[in-house]
Symmetry: C2
Subunit: 382 residues, 2 copies
């Protein structure tokens, strides 16, 4: 038993309840549900009752039946696995109506046990040789294209000044472009374009597959020359992010994609806050760049929600080092000034399918976006 040697971590739950008394009662239920999951009267005395069961702490009343209650848990309840940490944070209680997890305070022990981001904003900037200004990241697509077609798009985008070449998250291991061929083709094209044009663009290869294939494929991408990997924690679980971020041999930045995670944030009174899902949890897992749907695009996130995500990604007091927020959807030259005003400098701008409208001139469209972002930031343009 290591009780006493560990510092507890805290989760802040927003509880929707008719009264403060009801909120506190529900908080005590959560403290049990997330740990021992047995009736309070049969909890064994001693270590389990004193340490393992969650402890209800400070409560703040909001408006109209909203109460933010902190519950602390022992790292002994977790061990050192990210999936079990998430299980304690919001496993079964995620199935309860009227509870939203909105905050996480790791404490010293959890901060020691989990690596967090390996690169963060500064590390990714160093690898991409972009010391200041927003990073431009065209997305390579569509699925159904051959590796050569995808590689040619990537080459032109690097020529145009892209910092990051991101695989579309729908490029998996389909027969039209199997993982290995696709990755070799795109990473190879990015390397050639970097050499030819004096660039340092990073190709982020999308990694999918069975659990015991994921690490292998990530290393395949690295060996093929990829400068990072794209992972979808909603589909693959968060563990793969932590696994790669904490592997010194791997040593590549990680971008996480929000596919399949929408239901966690779309309801006002269940799931996670936007900031916690796309900021806090991504940093906890070890992502360096967190992709999320941008305001004004095809998705319904508000400017306030997007701003809260960017803040959580970059908060100096957050878990590990600050990471890049990466808004995607509806990004264009016309909106560059608004986007720079909203997100500032430390941001990776995804540019998606609309780029394809430029055909062979796709590189020029990337250049135009680079210039628009730099102009908006008042920076010198190249």
């Amino acid at each position: 038993m290591t009780a006493g040697a560990v510092e507890r971590f805290r989760v802040i739950y927003r509880i929707f309840a008719g009264s403060a008394a009801e909120a506190i009662r529900r908080a005590h239920d959560i403290a049990i549900e997330q740990t021992v999951e047995i009736p309070a009267d049969v909890v064994p005395e001693g270590f389990i009752a004193d340490e393992i069961v969650g402890q209800v702490g400070r409560a703040e009343m909001g408006e109209r039946g909203v109460f933010d209650v902190a519950i602390s848990y022992s790292p002994d309840s977790v061990g050192s696995e990210l999936s079990q940490l998430l299980n304690v944070i919001f496993g079964n209680s995620s199935i309860q109506q009227g509870i939203k997890a909105i905050g996480f305070e790791p404490g010293a022990t959890i901060a020691e046990r989990f690596a967090g981001p390996r690169f963060g904003i500064e590390g990714v900037r160093a690898r991409a040789n972009r010391p200041s200004g927003g990073l431009i990241s065209p997305v390579i697509k569509p699925q159904g294209s051959s590796p050569d077609t995808l590689a040619e798009i990537a080459f032109r985008c690097v020529a145009g000044g892209a910092d990051i070449i991101k695989d579309d998250h729908g490029l998996a291991d389909q027969s039209m472009a199997p993982f290995e061929k696709r990755t070799e083709a795109i990473a190879g094209a990015v390397a050639r374009a970097n050499a030819e044009f004096g660039m340092s663009a990073l190709h982020f290869a999308n990694i999918t597959g069975a659990p015991d294939q994921l690490v292998e494929r990530a290393f395949f991408a690295k060996d093929a020359g990829a400068g990072g990997v794209l992972l979808m924690p909603g589909l693959l679980g968060f563990e793969i992010v932590d696994r790669l971020a904490s592997d010194p041999e791997f040593d590549l930045p990680i971008m996480t994609h929000p596919s399949f995670t929408g239901p966690f944030v779309l309801s006002p009174d269940t799931g996670f806050s936007h900031a916690m899902m796309y900021g806090t949890l991504q940093r906890l897992a070890g992502s360096d760049i967190s992709v999320f749907p941008n305001v004004g695009g095809r998705f319904g996130f508000s400017a306030e929600e997007c701003g809260s995500i960017a803040d959580a990604c970059r908060d100096p007091a957050g878990f590990g080092m600050p990471i890049f927020p990466s808004p995607g959807g509806g990004m264009s030259v016309d909106r560059a000034a608004d986007m720079v005003a909203m997100y500032g400098e430390d941001v990776v701008y995804l540019i998606g399918g609309s780029l394809l409208r430029h055909g062979d001139k796709i590189g020029e469209a990337v250049t135009a976006m680079r210039q628009a972002v730099d102009a908006a930031a008042g920076a010198e343009t190249a």
Copy 2:
């Protein structure tokens, strides 16, 4: 290109829209979003436009702004990875308001590419030597206990007539009961009790950890004598279920647990229907027993929602073979008659923390549950 050789699969989306025209427009947006994710006017002609892009099919108007629209996709868009199948079914569109995925028709090609459940109801019954009647599954807990304490509870439960000994989903790899020691202790106790009392109880070991540890740990559990594994697809991803279900060397039944999946079903107009999340998707992944929160317990699922889950688990026309629904929460001798009336015979009844109230007499409480279920079913009691 394998176009023509494949049969398309269909997803039914419930779209909340002001008019049929708006619903159809949104369906066309989904068909693009889930596949090429580029504006319609830049979709390459030929194979990509004709096969890869989703095709909007039949639409049925429900009441008050609810439209159920079928969209078909090509298996070429998927390949043979479950994560990519889920990505096409509801990856990015899960982040849109007003869309709920409620149905899935695999078609011949997807049915060939994915194994589905290896055991199903009949296979689990054969392994547990329980040819008829509901299966009784006490849950071994609480976390914080030593392997010996957990093993003793398991031993007594088998003595009392348990069919399945399920690890609590919060038993991971904590220092109080590390994965290997815990699994050896509980599986060993179940084996001894089976031998002593002439039982065939199956221990389902909870498998957690990094992606490249999961398969290894599942085989460790098998070698230690476990009769099945418990997996949490919400935390680990669905791929691990498919990976183990389709591995002939593994050859143990799989129980899936709903931790971290609540937000997928709690909102009326986003995520999945209860039946799709806890029935259809579990079968698609290869689960043999799908755990879900029971009506009347600590969670808010209605009798109708629970019934729809049980139906989706057992529907003979569903993916692969019918599987066991496993309602948990609030199960007791007093409710046995209601539960049998509601769920019938092909069900695994989870009995949780309330069992611990019986202390050393926990086996007798399991026996009482066995007898109550059998009496309610009008079956002979042992």
